[in-house]
C-alpha cells in the first residue's frame, strides 16, 4: 500500500514537472521568437538607414515661380518602392516677398487634385527593376506651390526619405 502511495505521488510529481516544463518552455520559446523578430526588425530598420543615401543632381529650377523641379540620385544601396516614395517628405522654406518667408510641408500627390503637392517620375535606365527607385537611378521631382516664390529669393528645400534620411539645399530664384 505504501509502495502504491509513493508510486502515485511520484507519478503526480512527474506529470506536474512535465506540465510546468511544457508551460515554461512554450512561453519562453514564444518570448524568444517575439524578441528575435523584434531584434530583426530593428536591425533591418537600422541597416536600411545605413543603406539609404541620395543627393541632389544639378540645379533646382523654377518655372513661373510656381513649379520647382530638381533631380535626385539614389547613391545608396537601398531600393525604394513607389509606395515608399509616397511617404517621402518635402519641406520648403521660401521667400514670398522681400520680408516674409513661408514654411510648408508639401504633400505627395500623383494628380493635380491637391493644389499644392509634389510628384516624381523615374528617369534614366530602369531595365533592372522598372517599378522601383534602385541604386544609381535618378528621379525627377516636381513641386507645385500655391504661394509664389519671390523674385531674387534665397530658399531652402529638404527632402526626407520614408526612413528618415534627409538631404537639404539652398537654392536661388532669379
Amino acid at each position: 500500500m505504501s509502495g502504491f502511495g509513493v508510486s502515485i505521488s511520484t507519478a503526480i510529481c512527474i506529470i506536474l514537472l512535465i506540465i510546468v516544463s511544457i508551460g515554461i518552455i512554450s512561453t519562453t520559446v514564444k518570448t524568444f521568437q517575439d524578441l528575435n523578430e523584434a531584434f530583426e526588425a530593428n536591425i533591418h530598420t537600422q541597416q536600411d538607414v545605413l543603406r539609404t543615401e541620395f543627393k541632389f543632381l544639378g540645379k533646382i529650377t523654377s518655372i513661373n515661380k510656381r513649379i520647382i523641379s530638381f533631380y535626385v540620385k539614389n547613391t545608396g544601396s537601398k531600393s525604394f518602392s513607389p509606395e515608399e516614395l509616397t511617404f517621402f517628405d518635402l519641406m520648403l522654406n521660401y521667400q514670398i516677398n522681400s520680408t516674409n518667408n513661408r514654411l510648408a510641408w508639401i504633400p505627395f500627390s500623383e494628380t493635380d487634385i491637391i493644389d499644392e503637392h509634389w510628384n516624381y517620375t523615374f528617369e534614366g535606365n530602369y531595365w533592372n527593376n522598372p517599378s522601383s527607385w534602385d541604386p544609381a537611378e535618378n528621379i525627377s521631382i516636381t513641386i507645385q506651390i500655391n504661394v509664389l516664390l519671390a523674385s531674387n529669393s534665397s530658399n531652402f528645400l529638404q527632402f526626407s526619405s520614408s526612413n528618415g534620411v534627409s538631404v537639404s539645399t539652398y537654392f536661388e530664384v532669379m
Partner: protein, 149 residues
C-alpha cells in the same frame, strides 16, 4: 491491522501533499508566464518603436514651435498625453504641455510606420539661440534634435 491503517494514512498524506505541491506549482505557472510575456511584450514594443525628428521650426508670430517627426520603426506609435517634450539650453528648460499632434500623410489618425506627424507646441516664448529638443513617447523611446534660431 494498525500497520495497515498507518500505511493508509501515510499513503493518503503523501498523495495529498503531492496534489498540494502540484496545485501550487500549476497556479504559479500562469503567473510566471504572464510576467515573462509582459516583460517580453514591453521589450518587443520598444525594439519595434523608432521615430526621427526631421525638421523643427519656430513661428515667432504666433509663438508656436513646429516639430516634424517620422515613424521609422515597424509599429504604430501612440502620440498623446503620455508623450513628453523637453526644450532646453544652458539657461532655459521647458516641458511644454500645450501641444497637439497631426498625422500628415496617413489614412487614419494612427501614426503608422513611414508616416509623418507634426507637433504644434503652443505658447513658446521668444526663442533665440541654440536649443536642444527631446521628444519622449509613452514607452520611453526618445529622440533628440539640436537646432538654433
Amino acid at each position: 491491522m494498525s500497520e495497515t491503517i498507518s500505511t493508509s494514512i501515510l499513503t493518503t498524506a503523501t498523495i495529498i501533499l503531492a496534489v498540494a505541491v502540484a496545485t501550487a506549482f500549476l497556479s504559479f505557472v500562469p503567473e510566471l508566464n504572464s510576467t515573462i510575456s509582459s516583460v517580453a511584450y514591453t521589450n518587443v514594443e520598444k525594439l519595434k518603436t523608432s521615430f526621427k525628428i526631421t525638421f523643427v521650426s519656430v513661428n515667432s508670430s504666433d509663438q508656436t514651435l513646429l516639430i516634424w517627426l517620422k515613424n521609422v520603426g515597424s509599429t504604430v506609435i501612440m502620440v498623446g498625453p503620455s508623450t513628453d517634450i523637453f526644450l532646453w539650453n544652458s539657461t532655459f528648460l521647458s516641458n511644454p504641455t500645450d501641444w497637439e499632434a497631426n498625422i500628415l500623410n496617413g489614412e487614419d489618425e494612427k501614426w503608422s510606420p513611414h508616416e509623418t506627424a507634426m507637433l504644434t507646441v503652443n505658447g513658446t516664448s521668444q526663442l533665440n539661440g541654440e536649443y536642444h529638443l527631446k521628444v519622449v513617447i509613452h514607452n520611453g523611446v526618445e529622440e533628440q534634435y539640436d537646432f538654433s534660431i
